[in-house]
């Protein structure tokens, strides 16, 4: 595959034309996977022998947490492309992904607290994974605020890209905190290549479908929101030109 062909999508017109073609299919697949994964998980899986019916929260909590981290990593890649190659679409894709990432982080934090209360006896603990997730959430808010605060699009893209690089440390910490510090309340990763550590098959299969749904929803929303950011940028440019007479 010729990677250079990828740069054709840095052209805003080409990006909008292509994403307009794929967006309906991605959106329908996202809704289908989410519906199947969540209905399967909620209605047709047994209770866990230790956690009872609270295990059903896994179909929301794990995919949301996974997307919270991966959304930031996607923003990191697109920010690096902006820094190196100065493609506007790339910076705008990072901007478009942030609100989706913040909602995923919020869902992971809220469902984690709700799940933690009956299992740990507390809504919150300053545990490595929980704390790094909270910091990631604050980074998301800071990133969005920085985009909003700066009028010049290129300056905003530069500064938010730097913030994104710094925040990536916390995105990685959120993923590996449990492994770094062998302490705290949060259990190890639910998904593992090690069969002993992985969740049981009866929970694993619907969880995979639910994860696919969250990934597709993220892709669909980021494509739609990137289109919106491209149009908003063009609008600002036209308005500026009009003001200058």
């Amino acid at each position: 595959m010729d990677l250079n062909r990828l740069w054709a999508y840095a052209n805003p017109k080409k990006f909008i034309e292509t994403t307009n073609r794929v967006l309906p299919a991605v959106s329908i697949l996202a809704v289908l996977c989410l519906a199947v994964g969540l209905v399967w998980g909620f209605f047709f899986t047994p209770d866990d022998y230790r956690q009872g019916s609270t295990v059903k929260i896994i179909y929301l909590h794990v995919p949301a947490a996974l997307m919270a981290i991966n959304a930031w990593l996607m923003m990191l890649v697109t920010s690096l492309i902006w820094i190196v190659r100065r493609h506007h679409v790339s910076a705008l894709a990072a901007r478009a992904a942030a609100p989706v990432g913040v909602v995923m982080t919020l869902i992971a934090l809220i469902t984690g607290a709700i799940w933690g209360q009956p299992m740990w006896g507390t809504w919150w603990a300053w545990d490595p994974r929980l704390t790094s997730f909270l910091i990631l959430f604050l980074f998301y808010l800071g990133y969005i605020a920085l985009w909003e605060a700066i009028e010049n699009d290129d300056t905003a893209a530069d500064l938010t890209s730097i913030l994104c690089l710094v925040g990536s440390v916390f995105a990685l910490l959120s993923r590996y905190a449990v492994n770094f510090w062998n302490q705290g309340l949060h259990q190890g990763a639910s998904l593992s290549l090690d069969k002993e550590e992985n969740v049981a098959d009866v929970f694993y299969h619907p969880l995979l479908v639910s994860i696919a749904g969250f990934v597709l929803l993220f892709v669909a929303l980021v494509l739609l929101r990137t289109q919106t950011e491209i149009r908003a940028r063009r609008m600002r440019a036209l308005m500026a030109r009009e003001r200058m007479g």
């Binding site: 609270t54 059903k56 929303l221 929101r225 009009e242």
Partner: protein, 52 residues
């Protein structure tokens, strides 16, 4: 049809209700902004064309 969630019914249902509400809100706001910006851009482009 509703599974027996036992003593954790409130816990599980509230997690689902809040998460789905947040997801629906995110999708709705994304579509609403997309439609609004598209319409505003069309108006501005038309105006810009008229003024040459």
């Amino acid at each position: 049809m509703m599974p027996d969630l036992g003593k954790y019914a409130e816990t599980v249902l509230s997690a689902y209700a809040i998460s789905l509400l947040l997801l629906v809100l995110l999708v709705w706001l994304s579509f609403r902004r997309s439609r609004r910006i598209k319409a505003e851009l069309e108006t501005i482009e038309k105006k810009a064309k008229r003024h040459g």
